[in-house]
Symmetry: C2
Subunit: 189 residues, 2 copies
Amino acid sequence: MRVYLAGPEVFLPNARIILDLKGSLTRSAGFEPVSPGDVAIDTMPDKHELGLAISVVNERLMKSADAIIANLTPFRGISADAGTVYELGFMCGQGKLAFAYTNLADDYFLRTVAYYGGKVITGLDGRNRGHDGLSIENFDMVDNLMVDGGIDSCGGSIVRGNVAPEERYTNMRAFKECLNMVALSFGVS
Amino acid sequence: MRVYLAGPEVFLPNARIILDLKGSLTRSAGFEPVSPGDVAIDTMPDKHELGLAISVVNERLMKSADAIIANLTPFRGISADAGTVYELGFMCGQGKLAFAYTNLADDYFLRTVAYYGGKVITGLDGRNRGHDGLSIENFDMVDNLMVDGGIDSCGGSIVRGNVAPEERYTNMRAFKECLNMVALSFGVS
């Protein structure tokens, strides 16, 4: 069984070390890890072509995997990394098993309210809105309801961790819990 | 042919009007529009269950559609709305046709540099990084490379619009261009 490891750790200064650590934990849990960046990319004529080539490789790796564990820890804003969310959607669209985790305890509603500096109005329709009029989801979820709902629909769940800010992208506790749940789902011990 | 219309316009104060406008334009282009929120949801025991039920309905609508047009205009930050990105990934995972547009011309690199207040360092590996050490993608793309690359892989492309800030979520020019390209792809005139 192969597990695709999606998350913003690819952007860390020590990305390779963290990806290798996740890979090693995944092997210990009885699975073959598959990570973005596992395959070397040929030189390309320009940066746009290079980006497309990386995407093609990652999609191929996803298709080869049986499950995904997505790190939904908010990245440069209130939501998860867009690449990770795309990959989660892709795997759910393929009917693969999906688990996820976040290392930030605050739910999506709280983070969005903080984005508006705590200033939330109630619209005529009874929905919470920011000063820009945009409604604020309040469904007790980790991120947009399509993210949480998609994981639920494909048989998984989300682990909510809570770690010190300096460990936000490196702490492995919630990730290990996901590995345990994938093992339970696949009957691997 | 059914086209799923994904985008952050569901959060607008006049969401229904904008969704209806997009639906009407889609019909004029010869397609059946499918939008999140098209199906009424039963009352649920709590808000989390309600959120999950909305997700289930939207995933069912996506499965019924042949193509997606995703509005990737940045939403509360530098990336597209997480729900829209999930839906794009889901449809690409299902092998459906995907087109997208953004109403903000600046590419992902420029927006990320602006997020760091213009202060970008070059790491020992030659990559651009923010003060937090996180690397900054620079692939001449609209969003994370998995988003742009995924659309390319499933036969579509992204229209880059450029509209006044007050029209950011309502201007239909780039959306109409997407409709024209979907029509060309499906041989609908």
